[in-house]
């Protein structure tokens, strides 16, 4: 049977209370709770990589032969981003990569494609990663209800923790939320129309379609996972669908917000975390139609309990110091430039040449004396033998801080720039920016972990690299 063989999720560390946004603008709060805010160095790609790392914990990444990345907020409009993700995740080159985008249904579309590919036997293990970080105009309701996050599922046909029993899709030509070419912010049509004639009409139609196809009644579903753009709409849909509150999976409104295309998969991960063998899970996305899936949980689910997932990431959080931080992190206000020289243009040639070292984060390990060194050295730093090394990935190793500084001079979106010399478990040292950190908590000897982040966007090029962060 084809199904989910592993799962993972990612929620950014920082959370901003909706009341704080409402207070800033003197507008009504869109419900209680807080929204997750991606750090300035995060985007949909980096969050998808983080969720994928959670999902691949304890898995042989060499067996993954597909990466489907779903988002409506890809860093590039033209250029595949799943290839960057596959390189960062060290999945090798003999895999199928594809980006699914342009709809809030992108994640379920990629999930269904992965399922079909495995069913057809053309792929064995497909990693499906969904992430979104949608931008809303300031003061508007969506600024409060949106949130950032990601989820990842591994689809295969052996050791399946949740089998895919059935699916049902509806295509519905409808424009409720959209962005045209060049739009930075989500546009929305009048909600009274889009709810009545869209969400409240189409999602129930599709869910009924699936239940009918499977000969099931709503009461037979253990966990109902369905998209909702906010708490009120989600609650109303639960009633429309005939589910009791205890059947309805938490929509993450209290602690994360509407994570767009990623939300159905994040909710599904949340459901899997608390499900037991035999549970039937219904998953419905919504966006220009609807995809509905029926899953059946197996006893393999108990082997996936060590994921950080939704539960772990929800608990691991820090309050965002102020609404102004959110504005600067999202680039919504002009900020005085640091008094530093302009950077050189990124050399795409050089980035390509050093991709193993910089994107996959490989070090060289001398085969003569065993010394590990980063960046990759052709002449060994210790025994000086030439060109006799193997590549070793540093992301898998334990790392701790050897020394550090808090740099106020450096140009940083979130000063001070905390920069650390770190020691790798396998030997050698490296020099890395530290992110998701409280500068006051940084200490010599502190353990840290690698996280894939964006260094900067300059002249049309997103420059990604690894940073270190305190373990979450």
């Amino acid at each position: 049977m084809v199904g989910i063989t592993s799962y993972g999720a990612y929620i950014p560390l920082y959370r901003l209370p909706r009341s704080e946004i409402a207070k800033t603008w003197g507008v009504a709060a869109q419900g209680a709770g807080e929204r997750a805010v991606a750090n300035f160095d995060e985007d949909s790609l980096t969050m998808a990589v983080a969720a994928s790392m959670d999902c691949l914990k304890g898995r042989d990444r060499g067996k993954v032969d597909g990466l489907f990345l779903a988002t409506t907020t890809a860093p590039y409009v033209e250029k595949q981003v799943s290839t960057i993700g596959a390189t960062a995740l060290d999945l090798g080159r003999s895999i199928r990569t594809a980006d699914f985008t342009n709809s809030l249904r992108a994640a379920t579309a990629s999930l269904l494609s992965a399922i079909d590919a495995v069913k057809a036997g053309s792929l064995k293990n497909v990693l499906v990663a969904a992430a979104d970080s949608r931008q809303a105009q300031t003061q508007g309701g969506m600024e409060q209800t949106f949130g950032d996050g990601a989820a990842a599922l591994l689809i295969g046909d052996s050791d399946v923790a949740a089998t895919i029993e059935a699916s049902y899709s509806l295509s519905d030509e409808f424009t409720d939320v959209w962005r045209a070419y060049g739009d930075n912010f989500v546009r929305a049509w009048e909600e009274r129309f889009t709810i009545d004639e869209g969400y409240n009409r189409v999602l129930p139609e599709a869910v009924s379609g699936l239940l009918k196809k499977c000969g099931l009644s709503p009461q037979e579903i253990n966990k109902a996972v369905f998209y909702g753009s906010n708490e009120r709409r989600h609650k109303g849909m639960g009633k429309l669908l005939g589910f009791k509150p205890e059947q309805i999976q938490d929509g993450l409104f209290a602690g994360v917000g509407d994570t767009g295309a990623a939300l159905p998969l994040m909710m599904l991960v949340g459901a899997l975390e608390t499900s037991k063998a035999g549970d039937k899970i219904l998953v419905a996305s919504y966006g220009n139609g609807c995809d509905v899936l029926l899953l059946s949980v197996t006893d393999r689910i108990n082997q996936l309990r060590n994921r950080q997932g939704i539960k772990g990431h929800l608990a691991s959080k820090k309050p965002l110091a102020s609404y102004q931080k959110y504005l600067t992190w999202r680039g919504l206000v002009p900020v005085a430039p640091a008094s530093r020289p302009d950077r050189d243009a990124t050399s795409i040639t050089a980035v390509w040449r050093e991709r193993a070292q910089n994107i996959a984060l490989y070090s060289s390990k001398c085969k003569s004396c065993g010394a590990q060194q980063y960046p990759i050295q052709r002449v060994c730093v210790k025994c000086h033998v030439k060109d006799n090394y193997e590549l070793v990935r540093l992301v898998d190793q334990k790392v701790k801080i050897f020394t550090f500084t808090q740099d106020n001079l450096a140009a940083s979106v979130d000063p001070p720039a905390v920069v650390a010399v770190v020691e790798f478990e396998g030997g050698g040292r490296g020099y890395f920016d530290m992110t998701d950190r409280d500068p006051q908590e940084v200490k010599v000897g502190m353990p840290v972990e690698f996280t894939f982040r964006k260094l900067y966007f300059d002249r049309g090029v997103h420059n990604y690299y690894w940073k270190v962060m305190p373990p979450r």
Binding site: T346, A350, V351, R353, E354, P416, A420, G427
Partner: protein, 396 residues
């Protein structure tokens, strides 16, 4: 090693501009100012110059000095070696003289940093890496000069059990001493005294380094005229002789996990080589004064240990006891150092020699050290670990 430079080359003239924010002076203005002071000091005519070396990071080719100085049809080489640029230009010029190829040569070091529009150091970096830049394509962690040296201070404090307050006081006293000396020097960029309280309360640039732990970013130029030692007395009665010229360039420390971040191996090695060349066996006793590369206060503290002026891990005692003040046992940065004189990169190595030269001739005015015998200068180019360090010794 086959040869030694000791007593084969002499300095017969030197010049140095005022360092600082020379808003009204161009590179050419400063090169002319320094070179003509050196010509006059040596009592030579520009036409006597047989070859030239220019040290600069910003300028390209030997034409940067041939054009303003109208040095016609002689060989001029541009030399670059990070912050050791000026010292290395001097070293190459001295070797050409020692080789017997030229009798009289000119060395000019200069930099024009203050046209950048920034308070801090602005050195253009190469996107394709190599050498200093280990990473390519702009992919590397945030790097600033104070940030790199601050990691050494953090580690020094941790290794030797200094509280942040104790550590900041130790390095702060380095700057208090340099400001006291700079206040006596009319060519200095900064000519003010500061108190330890001011230093410790100053805004943090890169923790634990505050504003007064960082050297001046300045414009300036310095020049030297070198001749064969056996002809030196034809020009003046008090020439100064080169005793040692060394550079140690590292390639390893950055990547090693046994590097301690509390010393700089290249300083230690260049010091040992220079002491051997000059015949110095007890540096703390025999070196009469020094100008070292105090780009940051922690750097000077580490230089004191690596040059064997202070025992390893115990420089704090010497700093806090005033051993390196003008009145102390081994005056360091008598002209104010990079801290106060300023640091126009290509000029600094030559500027350090200017102070040693004037002190050895007894012409250092209020800063005059009593009867110095040997003067040492040392520059650190690049960022430890893995850098290049020059050490030069001059004397009578």
């Amino acid at each position: 090693m086959a040869g030694s430079i000791k007593d084969r080359v002499a300095i017969i003239g030197m010049g140095c501009t005022k360092f600082g924010e020379r808003w009204d002076a161009s590179c050419n203005d400063m090169i002319i100012e320094a070179a003509y002071e050196a010509y006059e000091d040596a009592g030579i005519d520009p036409k006597d110059i047989e070859a030239g070396w220019v040290g600069t990071l910003g300028g390209t080719t030997g034409m940067t000095i041939s054009k303003p100085l109208k040095l016609q049809y002689i060989p001029i080489t541009r030399c670059e070696n990070g912050c050791a640029t000026g010292s290395d230009a001097f070293r190459n010029a001295a070797y050409a003289v020692a080789a017997g190829i030229y009798d009289i040569v000119l060395v000019v070091g200069y930099e024009k940093l203050k046209d950048s529009g920034f308070s801090g150091l602005a050195i253009p970096t190469s996107g394709s890496g190599g050498g200093l830049n280990d990473f390519a394509g702009g992919v590397q962690a945030t790097t600033t000069a104070p940030g790199m040296f601050a990691t050494m201070a953090t580690k020094y404090f941790e290794r030797y059990g200094l509280s942040p307050e104790e550590g900041k006081r130790m390095i702060g006293m380095v700057s208090v001493k340099s400001h006291a000396n700079g206040a006596l020097n009319p060519k200095c960029h900064f000519q003010n005294e500061v108190t330890i309280e001011q230093v410790m309360k100053a805004p943090i640039i890169s923790w634990p380094l505050g504003l007064f732990d960082c050297c001046g970013v300045s414009d300036g130029a310095a020049a030297a005229i070198l001749v064969r030692a056996d002809r030196a007395k034809e020009f003046r009665k008090d020439p100064i002789y080169v005793k040692a010229l060394q550079i140690s360039t590292g390639g390893e420390n950055r990547f090693r996990d046994d590097y301690d971040y509390t010393h700089v191996e290249e300083i230690y090695r260049s010091g040992i080589a220079a002491y051997k060349e000059a015949g110095v066996t007890n540096p703390r006793e025999e070196i009469g004064m020094a100008e070292v590369h105090d780009c940051f206060s922690i750097t000077e503290a580490i230089f004191m240990e690596d040059l064997q002026f202070s025992p390893r891990g115990r420089v704090r005692e010497d700093i806090e006891n005033g051993f390196f003040t003008l009145e102390g046992g081994l005056p360091v940065q008598p002209d104010g150092g990079l801290k106060c004189f300023g640091h126009p990169i290509g000029a600094s190595g030559v500027r350090m020699l200017y102070e040693m030269y004037k002190q050895l001739q007894g012409k250092a005015g209020q800063r005059q050290i009593k009867n110095p015998k040997l003067g040492l200068t040392s520059n650190l180019g690049g960022e430890p670990p893995g850098c290049c360090v020059s050490t030069i010794i001059v004397g009578h």
